[in-house]
Amino acid sequence: MRKSITLYGLTFSLPMLIWQVLFFLAPLIFLVALSFWTVRNFRMVPDFNPDNWIRMLGRGVFWQAYFRTFLLSTSAAIVTSVLAFPCAYGIAFKLSETARRWAIFLMVIPFFTSYLVRVYSWQIFLSDNGIINALLAKVGLGPFGMLNSVFGVMVGYMTLSLPLVVLLQLFSLIFVDRTLIEAAHNLRCGRLRTVFEIVIPAAKVGLVIAALFCFILTFGDFVSPLYLGGGDPPTLSILITDTTKSGQQWPRAAVIALTMIATLLAVAFAAVSFAYRERGR
């Protein structure tokens, strides 16, 4: 390996560096500066004024949205993880090699297909005279108001994150040492106990990372809370889109965005240190 800097090496390494510094890092840093700007006569003026921070963080609406978003995303991370686990476990341990490959193949597809249209499609299922209520009516139940409720938001959040959570859980379960499981079974450890005391601790890092990704994805999503949850009371991401789109109050939107980034960093740090914490006593 040659160590010196060559034209050849720079040709491959620099484009990414330049592009991401210029169009990824710089905008995020600019966001910090922007949060101190002021708006006069509908125009943004560079400034160093903590007024936006004081005003946004002093508002009840902001904190209400903050805790609502945090609670929704935490619930989504827990619910999705719990519902995804039997699926990931089944794919990892109960399917043949070929079937597992197919399952992964199918699971990757939805991650890259329009989330927006899938959410719209859920409206067809969940609305008052939608598919589910029509089916329930046949057996004499309902109608249930599923749209514009927390239930609707959760369905949307799971549409967004379930495939990714299953895949991440699956990749950690596949690498669980099978001999550990066999050993537990040979020692007459019951099925469920094996899952809880052998499989889950062994796959812990992957399971926590999967839940973390679910939290991150749902924390920043504005589509599900808006179109399946009704948007009222708003989440932080809805507040950002409203504040940005309704005029020149970008500095205030920047304050919300930075609070979200700080929260995500804190949660990610907590989750990762929890995931890698040594088991033991």
């Binding site: 390996m1 050849y8 090496g9 040709t11 390494s13 484009p15 990414m16 560096l17 592009w19 991401q20 169009f23 990824f24 710089a26 905008p27 600019f30 966001l31 922007l34 039997p86 089944g90 794919i91 109960k94 399917l95 399952a103 193949f105 990757v108 939805p110 890259f112 297909t113 329009s114 927006l116 249209v117 899938r118 719209y120 499609s121 409206q123 067809i124 005279n129 939608g130 598919i131 029509a134 549409t159 379930l162 066999e182 079974h185 007459r188 019951g190 991150i216 920043g220 999503d221 504005f222 179109y227 991401s237 889109t241 940005t244 970008w250 920047a254 965005a257 979200m260 980034i261 995500l264």
Partner: protein, 278 residues
């Protein structure tokens, strides 16, 4: 694991659960397809008659065509740029060791973990201060940021299947670095590069949030869909949805086939490059 814990009822229950999970995931996609052919304006059961009026309505809508044109331009440019940038970053990570490499790799992979609303706001504010917002290239700039990490990851995985001494062997046989790149590295990475092109195009194709923030009047198709969503119920979304699903599924399936075929038989791939493996 042939032991006392084996219970076929539980196995079947788990398999059924897997099936149900897939139903949950694919139900909205299937519904969009079915209801795009439904004559009724308001989707409900039982289905109304079969009809293609909504397809005709979409076909005749100049706004949709304009959105599609923007989407295709953005998708094509973004996939090439993001794949080139991502491949370069992957190769750098594969071949070089240098001070600050962790930061370099983190920068290359981080963008997808930043919520799109935040990215959208940051890009809008930044690009409009340097007068680059509200145009089609604004969307391209933003999408390359978001797509390059996927290309980087795919190419990096492929490179990690390569024996690093292959490149050194080419140099020893008198190839320059550029020739080794041209005749050893690139042929070996070809399936990954193709897959990266398809996947980045699919990501760009479906991205609506950042595009919505920065595009101004040059809306892409997903941004138009967002506009439709804010309006009244219209089966036209199902038609566009069906089209969008088919397009991105085709891209993703092609990409996966490319990646799968090669990861099954790395030896074949090595013979492609003219190298002999034992």
């Amino acid at each position: 694991m042939n032991d006392f814990n084996r219970n076929s009822a539980v196995d079947w229950a788990l398999k059924l659960y897997i099936l149900l999970s897939f139903c949950f995931i694919f139900a909205p996609i299937a519904a969009s397809f079915v209801f795009s052919f439904n004559v009724d304006r308001f989707p409900s059961l039982p289905l109304g008659g079969f009809s293609t009026i909504w397809y005709e309505a979409v076909w005749a809508d100049p706004l949709v065509w304009e959105g599609l044109r923007n989407t295709l331009i953005v998708g094509a440019v973004v996939s090439v740029l993001a794949t080139a940038i991502g491949f370069g970053a992957a190769y750098t990570d594969f071949r070089y060791a240098f001070f600050g490499k962790t930061v370099y790799v983190a920068l290359a992979l981080l963008p997808p973990t930043i919520p799109v609303v935040i990215l959208g706001l940051a890009m809008l504010a930044f690009l409009s201060t340097i007068d680059l917002s509200g145009a089609i290239y604004s969307v391209i700039i933003a999408h390359v940021v978001m797509c390059a990490p996927f290309a980087m990851a795919i190419c990096r995985l492929r490179l990690s299947q390569m024996d690093p001494s292959l490149e050194a062997a080419a140099w020893n046989l008198g190839a320059t670095e550029w020739m080794a790149m041209r005749h050893v590295i690139l042929p070996f990475c070809r399936p990954a590069i193709m897959a990266a092109l398809f996947i980045t195009m699919a990501v760009s194709f479906d991205e609506f949030a950042v595009a919505w923030f920065v595009s101004g009047l040059n809306e892409t198709l997903p941004v138009k869909v967002l506009g439709f969503l804010q309006g009244q119920v219209s089966p036209r979304i199902n038609v566009i949805g069906t089209f969008v699903f088919l397009a991105s599924m085709t891209l993703i399936i092609l990409a996966q086939i490319l990646l799968m075929k090669r990861s099954v038989s790395p030896d074949d791939a090595a013979t492609d490059t003219g190298a002999v493996t034992q």
